[in-house]
Assembly symmetry: C2
């Protein structure tokens, strides 16, 4: 792969926002979405950043997303809210969900907000992390927007890579931010292998006979393996299923056969479901003691003796944290091939190219 | 292995309870613990049932558990409670936690209860399932009571197999009950392999050079692999860590180096932490519609076409459900070798043997 080009974060955000405004989104909404997409690229979640600008705009132009949604709470209790995204961009829906969950957790001690009629919202960690500046813990669950996973032992792709993210504040140490799909690998990594002409390792996918599938160009014939792989994949299947129910079925959103493949269909509303939970640590003791104890734990883990060849013990989210710092210093990396796509998009929309 | 003997559930519960009363537990508490341990055996969680009677009693006799705990809420908000188990048996603490979480969820929409100074409480699913008769969803997280898992890339065993359980009510179908350790396999299964003189498959454990370890008699030299194994074990490591923080660190309970190996030390209080969350589906829509949609999803998954050689698509918890029904019909299975241990225990305590 050729070396990525680097752009100032503000330039990336402005470029994305200008594109969304051009296809009809309100300025404020466009800025919110663009900031979150830029943040995704900055932390290394490059499958969820500016690379999504073209597919999102394609969907907006096709009428598959509501450009002026009335995102609203349809029912609530002290610690919960059920919000209807009105088929708006998922970033708007889940930012609102996180804000509501944080406000409610301050009062109730913890809160859980679920969405219906939402859409793809980018990396799970973006929303879980929103609890951190408040000193709170964030949990995020989502139904993925394309089914690539069968039930354990099955062939029909009825489940997605339904991700979970958990963000935990520390004291002096960077926060712990877990963000994981419940498959061995995300489908985007399979597509990346195909683009680079590389083979996949055994354990990522199987074919319909149950044999290892390593040619990513044959991915459409195969099935992703759930986390745990051939040996313990029933656990990953179970996680994908319960996360999907918590994020989707519980909220009246799509799960199973009802999930729309948003790569193949730009028109039908996805009815995506997500859930955001926030926990206030002060409901369980002194929050400073909690943060100190998280620091102690991080240092114990990091100080572990290591397997031969291992240079460093990493915390979940540590690499993303480092990448964000690097992006702030050096700019947001964008692959040259993607720059070409974005230039063509800019020209078509009649907006200034990303520079 | 020789065929298990079968005992009436009431006889098993009565035998266990009588033993606990004999070593000083109040009758009511003994019955609660005995009922949960019997239920564990009935559902096939035989590593957490009557097999634990001897180690629990050993610990009680050694003074490692408080026989007359003052289990109490030390702080609470509308949707949360922090409970101090006063070093009582974990079953008592977490049954109380589940009851509080259910009562709070009825009002707040959802609730989260965390424990400090608790103890081993048996299978995670027992507590998650307590939400089901109320038509609610239950989630349970625990810090395991012995560290067998290093951080990813590390050698020092600083983490346990920290389990998660999620129980989801259905309509006409049995509920979905996921109960999983965050390692490829539980340490109890390694011990069982050793007892039976069998080898472990590759992927369960590695040695301190990072090579596969398949001889369970050498387990003490090795490390459990986190869920995801050699390929994606960083995900299982991340899950074990965040579950441990949610269940332990958040509550001021033991995590990392502070975790006591309760197999090796019967005296030091374990300061076990657990967490129980309950969600009322009526906070997110019509609960009957939710249960119907869970049924639909179960039927879609079960109806999937199957890989060659697969007879049946299973839901998480379905095998436990079947085993419970079998135990009700045929009695609770107890291995003959364990019966011998229990007979000796009964004789020592001066209580009637299990018949």
């Amino acid at each position: 792969m050729s070396k990525p080009r680097r752009f100032a974060p503000a330039a990336v955000q402005s470029f994305i926002a200008t594109g969304f405004v051009r296809v009809g989104l309100p300025e404020d909404d466009a800025q919110i979405i663009a900031a979150l997409m830029t943040d995704a690229d900055m932390q290394g979640s490059d499958g969820h950043g500016i690379i999504r600008m073209l597919p999102y705009i394609t969907r907006i132009e096709a009428g598959g997303v509501n450009k002026r949604p009335n995102i609203r709470v349809v029912s609530e209790r002290v610690a919960t809210a059920h919000i209807d995204g009105d088929n708006g961009m998922g970033h708007l829906v889940m930012k609102r969900a996180a804000e509501i969950a944080i406000a409610k957790a301050k009062i109730a001690g913890m809160a859980w907000v679920g969405s219906v009629h939402s859409n793809h919202a980018g990396p799970a960690s973006l929303y879980a992390r929103m609890a951190l500046p408040e000193g709170m813990l964030g949990l995020y669950f989502a139904v993925g927007n394309a089914n690539h996973l069968p039930p354990w032992g099955g062939l029909d792709m009825l489940l997605s890579t339904n991700p979970i993210a958990v963000a935990i504040p520390a004291g002096e140490e960077p926060p712990i931010v877990l963000d994981m799909a419940t498959t061995v690998t995300a489908y985007g990594k399979v597509k990346a292998k195909a683009q680079r002409g590389e083979q996949m390792p055994e354990g990522w996918m199987i074919d319909r006979e149950g044999n290892p599938l390593t040619d990513p160009k044959r991915a459409a014939e195969g099935l992703l393996l759930p986390l745990g792989g051939a040996q313990a994949g029933y656990k990953g299947y179970g996680l994908a299923l319960v996360i999907g129910i918590l994020a989707g079925t519980l909220n009246g959103a799509a799960m199973g056969k009802a999930v729309i493949d948003f790569n193949a269909d730009a028109v039908t509303p996805t009815n995506t479901g997500q859930a955001m939970a926030v926990i206030d640590p002060s409901a369980f003791g002194d929050p400073q003691v909690f943060r100190d104890n998280v620091d102690t734990l991080i240092r114990e883990l990091r100080g572990s003796s290591r397997l031969p060849g291992v240079a460093r013990i990493l915390m979940p989210g540590e690499q993303s944290f480092d990448k964000r710092a690097e992006s702030l210093r050096q700019g947001v990396p964008v692959a040259p091939a993607l720059c070409t796509v974005l230039d063509a998009l800019a020209d078509r929309l009649g907006i200034p190219r990303l520079v």
